[in-house]
């Protein structure tokens, strides 16, 4: 493997489609998504459940289940992960270059071992640290970085609260010293009260360790706090992309508008409309025209802004 020369691009997604095989059909959950992530920057993927954002995140983290179908191209830190409808390099990036903060912290920790054992596994396997004292030191460093005390190490996962679990998983994700961290809905299973805490923790750590950060969330207000760039997805399609500031100030796609409104617990959007082929958002869009029966292309507005809506034309 020849590592590509050090470029500024950390993740490059080109026309990527991901789907799951079923009996004799494939349900595509991500369709023709392209995006780029620069080194050290942070990106939010926002969308409601079923928008394919988690699958996209998993692909970038290199954990595609065996029944997945792919097309397009995915390059992570110079390693080609997906090429020519095949997953080729997932095991080269997973845990080495990318790690993932899971959505469900309570079930994502090995219930059979104590926390320190989980750290040792990662450190030994991925970082190759064998020395017991070094292991202990490194574990302590990690655990204190997320603000936990030493006594957590001798506990089992089920003895921890949700917030503590999430912090342990964050520390675990940092253990391999990745250059990219994918956080998949890091706050969705936490009390509202803790959301801010975890969001800030992730943000601070990624800044401090100079990692690229990909946050997958349905809550646009989190994106506001944590990210610089933002991608809005709906039913597997990328509908809008841009700097977070710009998007929030002036949302171009009606779905983005709905997302922003819903963060303030306001409701916009249509009730129910029959689905037709064409724009994916047709069923809920308040501003439809006949044009919407045709699938809109991704309109580029400047270098950093893209939107998939006829309204912009």
């Amino acid at each position: 493997m020849v590592l590509a020369e050090k470029s500024e691009v950390s993740v490059e997604v080109e026309d990527l489609s991901l789907g799951y095989e079923d009996l004799d059909s494939v349900s595509w959950v991500v369709r023709n998504v392209s995006l780029k992530l620069m080194k050290g920057s942070s990106l939010c993927v926002v969308g409601e459940s079923g928008s394919g954002k988690s699958t996209l995140g998993n692909a970038i983290a290199g954990i595609l289940p065996p029944y997945v179908r792919v097309s397009g191209r995915l390059v992570v830190e110079g390693v080609e992960v997906i090429r020519d409808s095949r997953v080729v390099g997932a095991d080269r990036i997973r845990g080495r270059v990318v790690t993932k903060i899971p959505q469900n912290p309570a079930t994502s920790l090995n219930p059979y071992v104590r926390i320190d054992r989980a750290f040792q596994d990662v450190l030994r396997e991925v970082r190759g640290i064998r020395d017991r004292i070094a292991l202990k030191e490194e574990t302590l460093k990690l655990i204190s970085a997320v603000g936990l005390s030493e006594d957590v190490l001798s506990m089992y996962p089920h003895e921890l609260s949700g917030g503590m679990c999430q912090r342990v998983t964050i520390a675990l994700a940092l253990a391999p010293k990745p250059s990219i961290v994918v956080a998949d809905e890091p706050t969705s299973n936490l009390d509202a009260y803790l959301r801010g805490y975890i969001v800030h923790l992730i943000k601070d750590l990624s800044r401090k360790l100079k990692m690229s950060l990909i946050v997958i969330t349905h809550d646009i207000s989190i994106a506001e706090v944590i990210c610089e760039d933002m991608v809005v997805m709906y039913l597997g399609e990328l509908v809008e992309r841009g700097r977070v500031r710009d998007v929030l100030r002036e949302p171009l796609h009606p779905y983005t508008t709905e997302l922003i409104a819903s963060a303030g617990l306001q409701r916009v959007g249509q009730k129910w409309r029959k689905y037709v082929s064409g724009c994916v958002y047709y069923t809920r869009c308040p501003y439809t025209s006949d044009k919407c029966l045709e699938r809109p292309p991704l309109f580029k507005l400047g270098s950093e802004r893209e939107v998939r809506c006829w309204k912009r034309l």
């Binding site: 009390d191 509202a192 009260y193 809550d219 819903s262 306001q266 409701r267």
Partner: protein
Amino acid sequence: MLEEALAKPVLRVCDIWVEYSLSSGLLSKKKKIYALRGVSFDVSGSEVFGIVGASGSGKSTLLKAIMGFVSPSSGSIEIDDVDILKVDRETRKNILRKMGYVSQNPLAAVNPRFKVGDIVAEPLKAAGLSRKEITKMLPTLIESVDLPLDVVDLLPHELSLGMLQRVVIARAIATKPRILLLDEPTSALDTVTQSHIVVLLKELKDLFGFASVLVSHDLKVVSHLADRLAILMAGLVLEEGTTYDVLRNPLHPYTRELVDSIKLKEVKEVFTIDPRTCPFYAHCYLRLEDRCRRIPPLIELGRRRKVRCWLYS
């Protein structure tokens, strides 16, 4: 007149204590853990009373106690001046029919093998309505929660979570209850659906004019719906007041943090709660040395404003 009607509470909860006994061993003594410690509040007219607390604060237990799923060790729960803890089973059942209950997880709240129509019709059936009457009433009910009519023949797993929650709400309001108990009605949903449900609940309240108790960990959701609210922690009410007052001028340090958390500001996580001290003692930045070790009394500060903090004694 209006004042009087408002003043007469529909639901009055008085000094409720709920305990769980946790047996740690056959031979060792049973440990008692209090889920609720002397909680009192009342709800009148078509008021929405919100209760905010982190997980483990006892907020769900409170609703369960009102519904009779758990029995309090002392205290009284009066509905229209009848103490439901003291009446016989039949009367109690009749009173309970005046209440609707919406729970956190719509999946657990409906029988997965019932059709939506049957689910919604169940309270009507319990009220002794004939099949004919029920079929007549169903469409209005379904429409009132913004669902298409053809869902009545679907099974729960064919609906999305948001739709299912609407079904649960439809069931709760089927018998036109005096009181609606909402136990985290939105916490399992993503932000868009969440906003839809919140809007729906608001509409329904205006339409039917029932009183309701809303329980949530998310101050944002509660503040949108509730007229008054109480902050609950470790089974103790820490603060109570109108939503406007509490949000504008939070008195208790914990409330302040909660208000901050709406804006995703960085807050401290609450790890340890000693049941013998003020629940926020370990994390309070205003700690008033010795006194704070004891549990402060609930201090009344003017009309409908209470706080449990030594700061105001």
